[in-house]
Amino acid sequence: MNKSLLISGAGGQGIVSISTIIANIFMLSGKFVSLCPCYGAEMRGGAVNCEINMSDSEILCPQNDEVDFVVALNQTSFDKFINKVKENGTIIVNSSLAKINKTRDDIKYIFAPLTQEALKLGNIKTTNSIALGILSKLLGNLSIDNVKKAYEKILKDKKELIQKNIEAYLLGYNYIQEGN
């Protein structure tokens, strides 16, 4: 199995952290994985993005023109990366910060008000974890144990945040079932 993902958003939305967590989940599942951070001058503000590739064999192309999944946490990254989704691929869009607008009919759109959901949970910084939950559901086959392990590893210096993020993750995971 090969899967490529692009996680994008604004500086401060936890793009790199959530990408690192995803990459760790893949690694813990015994997969080959590569994570390339956005390679540009944008140190802060603007669009931040990370490309993650997962495979059963050595990853030969860590950067691709098109990916299977795009997560866009704001309008800028939605606009910038809509054309990076492969045919029949999926884009998950944070509709709290981006207008619902379908310009392509060859891909699947999932619009979810992630920021509002995160605020309901009481922590806006869990927006990215809700997105990860949705993504996990679509990817399938990710063991919740590995998800927990990845959070524990990445947030080992901020233990108090682990529970909240897993809660957010599960909210995302169950989000699509609720008829969205």
């Binding site: 994570l35 390679y39 050595e58 990853i59 192309c61």
Partner: protein, 359 residues
């Protein structure tokens, strides 16, 4: 074998350096290698090791020169335009026969260029950017695991041959994270006590210098250096081959570009073409003999680089007319994606009619 961890190329190099006993690091910030110095700053200070945020790359590499004269394992790191500033001291270090490990995480040039990944420093590294006759051993990893393995090897070779070693990678690999394991460093410790400076207690004093007013002595010194280089050429050339057994089309590439080149081989194999990859892991010494052998069986060599054709010269010198050579390159901007490689390869195959005779 430790458990797997997800690490950036830059951090992997820093951790590997500490694992093999690097006790001094000197650096100055420049994207895309800054994480090496950032990571080591805390670890080295905590352990009482030698770390200086140098005033410039010139300062940094000369600190490395001084530190290595004491027998300490020394590393410096930088990127492209700033590695240019270090060339003077590298020339001295070769003549002084001092082991320094220098990491160059390449960005695009010439001049300041930009922070895009690039492979534009091949020539500077393998032919030497400083003055005089000298050689630097150049190791080039293609994935994060190899960043670790080749860092171990770099420290070993530097001390074994008393010569600087450059670890040359492109910015993409420096920034990219992959799952890695830290093997134990399997290389022997090299005893340096017969040449280091640490005070002339109970022995005659020693001097390390490149200045030599006697032309006779200077000639002999350079001759001795080159005798050493011929041993290195003989013993240390290292490379990877992928699907080369029956290949009549050989792709040559180094560092991360070789991964895309492998994907290219897979693509054309599915189309029935016998394509294989030859990847030098040592850029100097270049594995010339093996490529020469392979080229005798090949109809076409395609060299792929993120520059305008720098390794190409070494490929040409190895192939020496045994087969046709074509080049695909892009110096600046995006990493060449597989689609672009395929369309440029298709064009070459059409033009050279190699595909027709073998597909």
């Amino acid at each position: 074998m430790s458990e797997k961890t997800l690490l950036k190329g830059n951090i992997a190099i820093a951790q590997a350096a500490l694992k093999c006993g690097c006790s001094c690091y000197f650096g100055y910030p420049i994207t895309p290698q800054t994480e090496i110095g950032e990571y080591l700053s805390l670890k080295m200070q905590e352990s009482g090791l030698g770390y200086v945020c140098a005033e410039s790359e010139i300062g940094a590499i000369n600190m490395a020169l001084g530190a290595s004269s004491t027998g300490a394992k020394v590393m410096a790191s930088s990127s492209s335009c700033a590695v240019s500033l270090m060339q003077e001291a590298l020339s001295y270090a070769c003549s002084d026969e001092l082991p320094i490990v220098l990491v160059n995480v390449m960005r695009a040039g010439p001049g300041q260029g930009y922070i895009y990944p690039s492979q534009g420093d091949y020539n500077q590294s393998v032919t030497g950017g400083g003055n005089g006759d000298y050689r630097i051993i150049v190791l080039s990893p293609s994935n994060v695991q190899e960043c670790i393995d080749l860092t171990y090897r770099a420290f070993y070779l530097a001390r074994k041959y008393r010569n600087p070693v450059i670890i040359l990678l492109d910015g993409l690999l420096g920034q990219m994270s992959e799952a890695v394991e830290f093997d134990d460093n399997k290389y022997d410790e090299i005893n340096c006590s017969n040449w280091t400076l640490e005070g002339a207690k109970n022995r005659p004093s020693r001097k390390i210098h490149s200045l030599e007013p006697s032309s006779n002595k200077l000639n002999n010194h350079i001759k001795k250096m080159f005798e050493k280089y011929s041993i290195i050429k003989e013993k240390e050339a290292d490379w990877e081959e992928y699907l080369t057994d029956d290949a009549n089309i050989i792709v040559t590439a180094f560092s991360t570009m070789s991964r895309q080149a492998k994907a290219l081989c897979n693509y054309y194999r599915r189309k029935g073409l016998k394509m294989g990859l030859f990847r030098p892991k040592t850029l100097w010494p270049f594995p010339q003999k093996r490529l020469a052998e392979l080229s005798k069986k090949a109809d076409l060599i395609i060299d792929i680089e993120m520059n305008m054709g720098q390794m190409l010269k070494d490929v040409e010198l190895s192939v020496l007319g045994n087969s046709k050579i074509e080049f695909i390159g892009k110096p600046v901007g995006d990493f060449m994606k597989i689609d672009e490689l395929v369309s440029r390869t298709d064009e070459i195959l059409r033009r050279t009619d190699v595909s027709l005779s073998h597909s």
